[in-house]
């Protein structure tokens, strides 16, 4: 019994592995027109359908009826290559009919290709189109990727030493984190899942601030109330992380709606993983964003694993990118380990979202190198050589480094300096944070409401009485 199960298990991961290898075969990026506001062309087989320009979008939500606008749009989809040119109308618009009973297959023959700019050696591929970045930008991106990587490894160790209670790393996803953040403006509102601390890092959250949150001391902006990794900073427009998966997706639509009402030139950007796309909130969030013409960018980090659930067991579709079209959303699949590709895609998506007031879905294919969290040991459900492969050969940081170095913008000296400096800063920050005071007892009751109501006042009073009676049971390092 046991042996046949392990055989099956192995073969499943082989298939999984093969699918990943297939990405190597993808060559040049699809072309797009030079005007930065035009979206990418869709899949080749949908060549007959023209992409919609923004005319009809603005009609809705500023006037009463939306059905008319939608109908007008959909009429464009009635193309010449339908069987008969006869058309009938139904609620929702005119539709051509056919006398051939043809089921749409559950998937198209070829998977949606993946946009990438750099090959595995950090060389820009032939005919690749991407948004250029300056030296300063490239160096900052690379430095932040290194910082994120260093932070992750040190904090993981700190948890293993028992000095913090929990941690989860973003290893393998540094490019998605930093490159997407770099392509956005500081006005764009971020609603993260939990594997995007790099975005906060890019925006200027200091190492000390990160560590303070992990230790939950008085300097923590969250006042010690949330688990480690659940960062939040309204100053940096980074919404506090909330543990339940995908709850931030409809919230992003609300944030975008708010930005739209205020007329701001900014969008909401929200992240989730491949596992998050199974949640009801994902589907409703995308649907809402499309219907509300909300300027949201949905970035799905498809890293292959949701704790121990591989993507084959998460959905049967061709990844996440195909789901966008089902909701009427522009979507693109991007090599998430290619910093330049991610940067270009997010940069363009942002322009689409803001100028055309519509959502965009970006599926960033990547790999979760680390365990799900410190409570997980992923070697139990996936082979170690798979992890090693993605950690070494497909490492996004190294890949980008080669490109930056090749441009003459980075040297080995810079590298060693940066790494040692970051390590030192982190160690110092950890020391400071560890010694710092914990939040006082009053912070247990504050902020539940705007002011303390009578029942909480009473409960606080009772608690303080208990503490007074039994001081030996109360931790000495927590102020009252």
């Amino acid at each position: 019994m046991a042996s046949s199960w392990s055989l099956i298990k192995r073969s499943r991961t082989l298939i999984h592995h093969k699918k990943k290898l297939a990405f190597l075969g993808i060559g040049s990026a699809p072309t797009f027109s030079s005007s930065s506001s035009s979206p990418f062309m869709k899949r080749p087989c949908a060549a007959s359908a023209p992409y919609i320009n923004n005319h009809f979008r603005f009609l809705r939500r500023f006037e009463s009826t939306k059905a008319e606008a939608a109908q007008l749009e959909l009429q464009h989809y009635v193309t010449d290559d339908d069987d008969n040119n006869q058309v009938i109308d139904f609620p929702g618009g005119k539709v051509a009919f056919t006398s051939e009973m043809r089921f749409i297959s559950e998937s198209i023959q070829k998977r949606v290709p993946c946009y990438r700019v750099l090959d595995d050696n950090g060389m820009p591929m032939k005919y690749s189109n991407y948004v250029q970045i300056s030296k300063e930008m490239a160096v900052k991106m690379y430095s932040d990727m290194v910082t994120l990587q260093t932070m992750d490894s040190i904090f993981y160790e700190v948890q293993r030493q028992g000095r913090i209670s929990f941690y989860l790393t973003s290893m393998g996803e540094e490019a998605v984190n930093i490159a997407s953040a770099a392509a956005l403006s500081f006005d764009d509102v971020i609603l993260p899942q939990y594997r995007e601390p790099g975005v906060l890092l890019w925006r200027g959250f200091t190492l000390q601030q990160f560590v303070d949150q992990l230790f939950g001391n008085t300097s923590d902006l969250g006042k010690g109330r949330q688990m480690p990794i659940h960062y939040g900073s309204n100053k940096h427009n980074y919404f506090t992380v909330s543990s339940p998966i995908a709850t931030q997706l409809p919230q992003a639509v609300g944030a975008a709606y708010s930005l739209k009402i205020d007329g701001k030139s900014a969008c909401a950007v929200t992240y989730c993983g491949d596992g998050g796309t199974s949640e009801g909130d994902f589907h409703a969030g995308l649907n809402f964003a499309a219907v509300m013409d909300a300027p949201v960018i949905f970035i799905c980090r498809n890293n292959g694993w949701a704790i121990s659930t591989p993507v084959e067991e998460q959905f049967r579709s061709d990844g996440v990118v195909v789901k966008g079209q089902a909701y009427g959303i522009w979507s693109i699949r991007v090599d998430g380990n290619d910093a330049l590709a991610v940067y270009s895609a997010v940069h363009t998506a942002r322009e689409i979202a803001i100028k055309e007031k519509r959502p965009v879905l970006i599926e960033a294919l990547t790999y979760r190198v680390g365990h799900h969290s410190t409570s997980d040991d992923s070697t139990k459900y996936r082979p170690i050589d798979e992890i090693e492969y993605w950690k070494m050969e497909r490492n996004p940081v190294n890949r980008f480094k080669r490109w930056v170095e090749r441009n003459g913008w980075w040297s080995d000296h810079n590298e060693s300096e940066l790494r040692s400096s970051v390590r030192k800063q982190l160690m110092q920050a950890i020391q400071v944070a560890e010694k710092a005071q914990k939040p006082p007892l009053s912070d247990l009751f504050n902020d539940v409401y705007d002011r303390l109501p009578s029942n909480l006042e009473e409960q606080e009073r009772i608690l303080r009485e208990i503490v007074k009676k039994h001081p030996e049971d109360y931790p000495s390092d927590v102020p009252l």
Binding site: F62, P244, T247, Q251, A252, V253, G254, I261, D281
Partner: protein
Amino acid sequence: MATLFQGLPSSTAFSSSNKFNHAPAPTSFSERKSSIVTVRSDARWSPVLNSATHKPQRLITNAVATKADSSLASTSSKPGHELLLFEALREGLEEEMERDPCVCVMGEDVGHYGGSYKVTKGLATKFGDLRVLDTPIAENSFTGMGIGAAMTGLRPIIEGMNMGFLLLAFNQISNNCGMLHYTSGGQFKIPVVIRGPGGVGRQLGAEHSQRLESYFQSIPGIQMVACSTPYNAKGLMKAAIRSENPVILFEHVLLYNLKDRIPDEEYVLSLEEAEMVRPGEHVTILTYSRMRYHVMQAAKTLVNKGYDPEVIDIRSLKPFDLHTIGKSVKKTHRVLIVEECMRTGGIGASLTAAITENFNDDLDAPIVCLSSQDVPTPYAGTLEEWTVVQPAQIVTAVEQLCQ
């Protein structure tokens, strides 16, 4: 913190005669005790001052408290304007939307359809599609959307077509709405109002007759209020919108067409206060929402039988107004709770616990709680009626309690 709630004498039995022009002002203005203008069945009225004076012939046909510090002028002319409860909600909503451009409404069919109970009728035409937003059918999503919008600076009012559907929004309400102000260390606030009709209607079936206040009451970080009259509906709606905390406003399906007179002037009620409906001496009856009317009907019978019940509409379901309730318990020493929630885990259960903990020494008898049975609400009209507490049961309970 305590704002004096203000009310007006009102009753459907008001005649158009000028008898009201000569109302002497009640003497006690500053205390929280309210004075009530009583209306007899022959349409004559007489003012009753403090509840300390005992007048066994008092008969209240309508359950609205009056302004304690009312000026002569306001009671002398036919004050205010008459409207139905759903119109009062709409008025409150409209006034707040005019006052603050950040206030917006989202929900199913709230826009051009005007809401399934017409609470948002006309608002979309007046304020535009963006501020009165029609959403697809995904409660968890539009609640989440409201939360995200609130965190970014708007003040959304989220309408659930029926409170029961908000069970689908439980994740967003519990894990995010109630928590994010706290877990973000106070950085983000969530001033949303979540409202909708709930309670047992007329043969709406089990899924549309939910009493969600019992499910939501544990969630930390939210406030819950229940309105019962046009007057408090408008006042609570305005207070909820102005509050910085997430507030859940419970309306009742069967109370939307209640007609009453409300003041023309602007007023905002306090979210944490209970309403003294009828002062009395013998027993404290605590109730809210639709059960208030059953209690008042039972009160008529009780008064005829010589009892003097004190009826309090608790209004604030989270947190309880233990100040008002406590004062009453200390006076009457007997408590009857009448609610529509189910026996297990309802508001009545929590209230019983709270009163017992705080005022046990003042009780002469155990608290009696009348609630619905722990059954899904049946569709058949007669069966449905038996799941809801009826006035006759209330009368019997008071009689037993006062033995």
